[in-house]
Amino acid sequence: MQRVRVDAALVGRLAALAAAALFVGLYPLFVSSYKASEFVLVGIYFIAILGLNILSGYNGQISLGHGAFMGIGAYTTAILVSKYHVGELWTIPLAALVAGTIGFLFGFPALRLSGVYLALATFGLAVAFVQLTQSFHFASFTGGGTGLSIGLPKTPYYLTWGIAGGMFCVAWLLLRGRIGRAFTAVRDAPLAAVSSGVSLAAYKTLAFGISAAYAGVAGSLFAMRYGFINPLEFSVALSILLLTGAALGGLGSLEGMIFGALFIQYAPGYGEKISKTAPSVMYGVILLAVLFVVPGGAAQLLKRLRRLLKQAAKPLYSRLGTPAVETAATSTRSEK
């Protein structure tokens, strides 16, 4: 294992990522500021569903309440900025901390629940969040139904995408290491995991915490983007939207999430373009169509693409006579 091997899959993946980063970096130079502001939301969704994916895709716990964690992050930022005059940038880690802590604590009752019961608990969180932030009882703090203003809408483009890139790398490093293996072990074989010394409670709550922290960062950026925070923005609809994005991206795949984020940001608009009278019907039909064509989400599509590329490249490899590349690629795949 001392020998440095060229891992074709890894190289391909890095090349694709570099291309994506280049595209994201240059995009605002070629489009209107409005289009760029739309693309900020893609980045925000991307961060949120990366987090959701850590929980649902890698740890096998469903959440219908990630909109609420995003809301917690957004409110953390909005309250700190508007009431305590904390600098916006400083609120990002704090939003992650607050949302992450609440998520971690929420992981404890979630320990006893699974499947549909956990779905209800998280769903309840999403419903309760809206009503609690709307409540007049806490209005001096949260702004109640009127919401909180922290200034004008902005386009924190490079900030959002910079953070998104960073958090993508963090997720990647986290999941390919010991923690990632423990997460998937807890998901796939809880009994075996326990018998080999993996604490279910620790890793399940940890997954909840990390996942919520991601959503918190997304929410913080969301607050900066719009400059105005209202409970209605974090309704159950947002949670469901995030789940849709994660599913379409392909659970258990990190790079697939970018496509999930693109879909939930742009597909409703396309629905509106097709039919002005019934835009949501069109959106629903598009969603179903995608599920039918690629039920495994973008991740499946990427896998297919990779296989095609590899087949196309095969003759090249054999001519160069580097079989090591092949074996390395297969071994990484079977590991997952």
Binding site: S32, S33, Y34, K35, S37, E38, L41, V127, Q131, Q134, F136, G144, G145, T146, G147, S149, G151, L152, P153, F222, Y226, G227, F228, N230, L232, E233, S235, A237, E272, P279, S280
Partner: protein, 412 residues
């Protein structure tokens, strides 16, 4: 050296920007050309509040009607009106997104009729900072008129909720000083506005309120609240709720066998809603309800031969043939579109945003064919409440009848 070059470049860039701005000058009012005036708005076309979707459609129909006129009457002052409206699903974040789209991408001249208290609050600072008119918002939240000093580019349109609530308060204090009052109220800013106004109107009679119960828009049922209110021994019930919840309140009243005197807010008091309520709750529960109106109600037969109503029907038949013309929201949209056209006419030949706002805040228009006869749409430098006159009405046997003359809700 490098630094100097940079400064030079920056200066050059600044000059270019300044120059284009200066050259643009009077010509470059966004959304206005010799032939066209482009305006926009955001409305809930999907989601839980989509029953308000007829409002922009009614506005669009009226603009189509103006655009189809012949000769010098074509459009407004010869300009064709382009009205672009986007769906915000009553989600303030989407309102921000779509409003930016209208301002920065479509480059509209003004935002007209945008719907909803929270959504419009979300873009108020933005539009005022950009100095884009945000006029005739489709909400009666008092803040859109009362906060004029800090938000000079924002103006409401309909009578505000507090004024309406106050009118009910004064009426009860005067007509029925011994009433025992119960209130069922939507638990949000909308309901709070009504309650604040109502209490102010009652004045020292406030202790006549024996019980107040709120509900969430998301509560499926209001049975428990009404049961509680009934038990309080009240004989008068105030309903401060949006249409679906109001109809539901009537239906539930019939089910718990309670027949108090009812006051119902104007948002929910169109003939169309009341007819639905009668079908579900029975006439004897609904009859006798009291409300206010400021627009003509297309479902009310008494306007059948009225010229304004005939114009409305004509426009509906021509541009929205499949829509239910008895839905008062279409007429609400048209009345608003008419107000907008009047303001543009008043602005005159030099149509800039600033001139336009001056006109909007200096209107005295008695000609709106869709408003009740006598209603004056009036604004001034310190009065950003275009409509403040209302008429008390009473519901009986399927229709509303006027019980008094026009009153000014803001006491001016």
């Amino acid at each position: 050296m490098k630094k100097a070059m940079l400064t030079l470049c920056a200066a050059a860039a600044a000059m270019t920007v300044g120059l284009t701005g200066a050259l643009g000058g009077s010509q470059a009012t966004p959304g206005v050309s010799a032939k066209i005036i482009k305006i926009g708005g955001t409305f809930p076309l999907t989601g839980a509040a989509s029953s308000y979707a007829p409002i922009p459609r009614g506005m669009a129909a009226y603009f189509s009607y103006l655009n189809a006129q012949k000769g010098h009457k074509r459009g407004i002052n010869g300009r064709q009106v382009q009205f672009i409206y986007y769906d915000d699903a009553y989600n303030p974040a989407q309102t921000v997104q779509q409003t930016q789209r209208l301002v920065e991408q479509d480059r509209v001249f003004a935002l007209v009729g945008g719907l909803g208290t929270e959504p419009q609050l979300a873009v108020r600072d933005y539009l005022n900072q950009k100095q884009v008119p945000q006029i005739y918002v489709s909400t009666g939240a008092t803040t859109f008129g009362s906060d004029q000093a800090r938000h000079p580019w924002t103006v409401g349109w309909q009578p505000d909720y507090q004024a309406e609530g106050a009118l009910y308060g004064k009426t009860i204090a005067h007509d029925n000083p011994n009433a025992k009052i119960a209130i069922i109220v939507q638990n949000d800013d909308y309901g709070n506005d009504y309650i604040a106004g109502f209490k102010a109107g009652l004045g020292h009679k406030q202790d006549q309120i024996v019980s107040t119960r709120g509900f969430q828009v998301t509560d499926p049922s209001v049975a428990s609240q009404l049961t509680d209110l009934k038990r309080s021994g009240a004989d008068t019930l105030m309903i401060f709720a949006t249409p679906a919840k109001t109809i539901q309140t009537y239906a539930t009243l019939a089910r718990i066998g309670w027949k108090p005197d009812i006051y119902v807010n104007s948002v929910s008091a169109t003939d169309a809603f009341m007819t639905t309520a009668v079908k579900l709750a029975g006439a004897d529960t609904v009859n006798g309800s009291i409300s206010v109106e400021y627009l003509k109600d297309p479902a009310n037969p008494k306007w059948a031969s009225d010229a304004g109503m005939q114009l409305y029907r004509k426009i509906m038949a021509q541009f929205l043939p499949d829509a239910n013309a008895n839905d008062g929201l279409y007429l609400y949209g048209m009345a608003k579109a008419y107000s907008f056209a009047q303001a543009v006419v008043k602005t005159g030949s030099n149509l800039t945003r600033a001139n336009f706002m001056n006109a909007v805040l200096n209107m005295t228009d008695k000609t709106n064919p869709f408003a009740l006869p006598g209603v004056v749409i009036k604004t001034g430098k310190k009065d950003a409440f275009p409509i403040s006159q209302m008429k008390m009405i009473k519901f009986n046997n399927g229709t509303w009848t006027e019980t008094g003359s026009l009153v000014n809700g803001r006491g001016k």
